[in-house]
Symmetry: C2
Subunit: 202 residues, 2 copies
């Protein structure tokens, strides 16, 4: 099973590594970090992850994963990347995104007419496409699964693992990463947080 | 605020990037990925993260974070790394670990007599040290905070952020990474999983 994760400058690291830590456990999986060039890519805080493949080397995938991050906006105008996503998607069993990665998928037209989601701060931007934006942690529409912001990629990847390898295997993965979350606060979505905290994001 | 994350071959990527994605948001924070050498380090599945500092360049920190992973066992005998951890710890406000990273902290002697935790599969190994092993998602004892397996680093980092910058700031961080977890299964700890799944880990 060939899994391609798109890498670009100013990604959000947890968008990548959350699902990565689940999907790398799929039997016979090979994960490729794929950039426009084969080089290191930085997140906004200086973390450097290396792309071990360039997009011109990759022509097919079983799973294509598009992470998000501030760098996604620049990619929305990158014809080479948009064309590559369309080409790979024509070969995939699953095409998935985390956080603002769904904007890039929407820009390719692949989400046209579909249910999808994104980071709560990006929903107005996603609504400008020909899609139906849902308030879900992750949402499947056919072979497409999009997820909410950043940490939602972990939940999405476990769901995807269950679709590919069955519930028992996905449960093993969840136990392997000891994903029994106990956040110190109950404020991880905009409808749960006090207004004064939400206002700080304006 | 200088935050040092120890990097080594065969780390678990989410042990690093989970807390990283929280702590990078602390005001005036600088995060250093620190290896014995300044080079790329691989996880067991081929992800390559670059160490932008080597341990001989770093002599102090506000926060020292030790991630876990299969590579931790080899480090338990690495005098250079153990000495470096003791030296940096003498300067820190907080010394924290994720997953099996607590074994390395225990090996330095810094956890002697303290309450701590680790990944559920590593608890017997941790009990061999002069420590009290607790069944907690994360546990603070003085300036030391250790956490359970892999994904627990996110919860631990949010707690740490609240201790450093206050609850309101930590709540902002939690909302920023949309950490409103909805795992597809309720099986993230060994006491919650069906026995036949737990048996597969033997």
């Amino acid at each position: 099973m060939k899994i391609m994760i798109l890498l670009f400058d100013n990604y959000t690291a947890l968008d990548i590594v959350g699902p990565y830590e689940v999907l790398n456990k799929l039997p016979n999986s090979e994960i490729y970090l794929v950039g426009t060039e084969k080089r290191a890519y930085k997140d906004p805080y200086g973390l450097k992850i290396f792309a071990n493949s360039s997009i011109d080397e990759i022509s097919e995938a079983d799973i294509l994963l598009i992470p998000g991050g501030p760098g996604i906006d620049k990619l929305l105008k990158n014809k080479e990347v948009l064309d590559w996503i369309r080409k790979i998607d024509a070969t995939t069993k699953w095409t998935v995104s985390v956080c603002s990665g769904s904007l890039l998928l929407a820009q390719t037209g692949l989400l046209d007419g579909k249910n999808c989601t994104t980071h709560w701060r990006r929903k107005d931007q996603l609504r400008k496409f020909n899609v139906t934006v849902k308030d879900e942690r992750y949402i499947q529409d056919g072979k497409y699964i999009t997820s909410a912001g950043v940490s939602a990629g972990i939940d999405m990847a476990l769901y995807l693992a269950s679709k590919i390898a069955g519930d028992q295997v996905a449960m093993m993965f969840q136990l392997a990463i000891e994903y029994d979350p106990k956040p110190p606060f109950d404020c991880g979505s905009p409808d749960k947080v006090p207004k004064e905290i939400l206002d700080r994001f304006k």
